[in-house]
Point group: C2
Chain length 357, copies 2
């Protein structure tokens, strides 16, 4: 007897559809091998949804998302829609999903893959021994959603707002994750300037008292942006607010070698979650079959682990990705001499072929 | 007949006093050689001022700053004062000066020094040919000063606010600087999420029309944080708002090899300016005579260039720093095998000794 998991697939724009197709291919393949069955439904989101319906997050898509045990999300956005007001832009698709489903904790693991150490712009000495950081980004608060927001005559305003409860719950996620890792959390803020940061720091101290086995420290965001490059191996778990997390995770992707390698899980208080690569739509390479699908495929790993509670299947995906890299398969973003250049679909196939090993 | 320039020296906290002393040493030495005379007055700021007067920016200091043609600033802050409310913290000293003197444009050059290419955490290939970026950070708006700011029950708020005039004037500074450089400006924002960014982007397009010889492009801040590490040589001038500029400049310091090498100039509408290293107070090494004074010394270069209009003297400082590095003088932050480890004061002396060559 197998359980049927409900999977919503929202490919979005640009390279979203092509990388999501590979992720789905891997999900189906690992499901067969681990006796998992899926009901998969696809929906429109972002620019694609706007073009079809005039709404970047149509009601049917939101319904589909609520129905699902897990959402495989591609990417949204593109120059084509830049002229639209903020509430019609493709980005509203992902922002709306995060907010409506209350997916407040965005887990963004940053790990180096041994065979790719030489594709990072950082010196090998800096990465030696490997980097393994989990960045926990708050995802439904801060500057992204605070009101008032907008233009009033010659003044324009964004509001960064956090309630104590919003800060506390994401700190718990980070502190709990640290327990299952190396036991250290760096909380990143700008407490010397921002009131929300100051409150964040106070609450971090308070919440951490419930985790005497975890070591908490604080770092200013400007310093963290420097430390991530100078000495990334000092970090275990980083927890930070929405905007800082957005910036620091893109920066940290350089450690792994390519932003095409970084998945993320957006979780709320239940098991359901949304899984999206941290890369964008990369319009310049969209439709050419050259995008790296590994970030999307690693989303499947996170999906299996966090939403479906299938650690065995998750480990299998992780191992298959490692094997494909070890065997020299490379999309253009991580190409090196002496490796085998493959297309998006060939990389997906290479991972599937290694699920049994 | 020599003109007498009025210089205010505000050493502040931590390593501020020791690096500022070397900067002053170089300023006096270059002044003698170039027939410049100075009236130098020192003032209290930051934690030092708070301890002495209960105010991180005492009225006498503000008066001194207004009197000066140029201000040599050290650094402010430290754990010791972290418990104080935001308006009493050492940082209020520098933030207050920026705001009161309306120093809205913060120029932060990021350059690689040939003899230090190997001290950067980045691979030599990435830096090959040298990096020469000017980051223009807006300094008196955004999240730093916007009201309302503070806690109200269980909600805490910061406000990011910009008037059109504030955005326009800093864009002009960047576009003018690009004219004297390689003619390219990247305006960095988060226009897919923030209303202030969206307005920033519109005004950048508008203002750039007055500079048909300058090429303007836009980049999201998350992407910029990645591009600075992946391909820093693509940038000429970067212009961005206050908080993004804070984060990106600290990150970019890794290109130069050490944050101890980065000066900055904070300018308003007149010639008067404030010059401060972008590094902080580094409490862990304060008072030990090991801090790198080159950022502070390079502030003297900027001061001569921008506030005193003495390009010859500025060039002499620049050349003397390059010569000291070429001759192998190194503070611990940039030490390499085969170089000569020196103290803060010895580095200052090494630069002075090379002013005549
Ligand atoms: C597309 C955009 C709204 C989004 C964000 O800023 O959160 C993206 O950059 C990300 O990091 O997921
Ligand atoms: C000390 C602090 C207030 C300051 C800032 O954030 O502007 C510093 O980080 C800087 O970059 O000059």
């Amino acid at each position: 007897m197998t359980q049927t998991y409900r999977i919503a697939v929202l490919p979005g724009d640009g390279i979203g559809p092509e990388v999501t197709a590979e992720a789905l291919k891997v999900l189906r393949a690992v499901g067969e091998r681990h006796g998992l069955s899926f009901e998969v439904r696809e929906g429109l989101v972002g620019g694609a949804a706007y073009d079809a319906t005039g709404d970047p997050l149509p009601p049917e898509t939101l319904e589909l998302a609520r129905w699902a045990d897990a959402i495989l999300f591609g990417a949204v956005g593109g120059d084509k829609w830049d002229h639209l007001p903020l509430e019609k832009r493709p980005e509203r698709g992902i922002l709306g999903l995060r907010k409506e489903l209350d997916l407040f904790a965005n887990l963004r693991p940053v790990v180096t893959w041994e065979p790719l150490l030489h594709t990072s712009p950082l010196r090998p000495e800096i990465l030696e021994g490997g980097v393994d950081i989990l960045i926990v980004r708050e995802l439904t608060g801060g500057l992204y959603f605070g009101q008032p927001k907008g233009r009033d005559g010659d003044r324009t305003i964004d509001t960064c707002v956090y309630t104590d409860a919003e800060i506390r719950r994401v700190l718990h996620v980070a502190l709990q994750a640290a327990r299952r890792r190396r036991g250290r959390v760096v909380s990143v803020d700008k407490a010397n300037v921002m009131a929300t940061s100051r409150r964040w720091r106070e609450l971090a101290e308070e919440v951490a008292r419930e985790y005497p086995d975890v070591q908490l420290s604080h770092m200013y965001v400007d310093n963290c942006a420097m430390q991530l490059i100078r000495n990334p191996r000092q970090f275990d778990v980083i927890v930070t607010e929405n905007t800082f997390g957005d910036i620091l995770t893109d920066e940290a992707s350089t450690l792994a070698g390519s932003i095409g390698l970084l998945p993320s899980a957006s979780l709320g208080s239940g098991r359901a979650g949304l899984y999206e690569p941290i890369h964008g739509t990369a319009p310049d390479i969209a439709g050419k079959g050259v995008a790296n699908p590994l970030a999307a495929i690693l989303c499947v790993e996170m999906l299996l682990r966090y939403s479906l509670d299938q650690p065995g299947a998750a480990d299998a995906v992780q191992a298959a990705v490692a094997a494909a890299l070890r065997d020299g398969y490379r999309t253009p973003d991580i190409r090196e001499e002496g490796t085998r250049l493959v297309s998006t679909a060939e990389m997906g196939d290479a991972v599937v072929a290694r699920l049994d090993s």
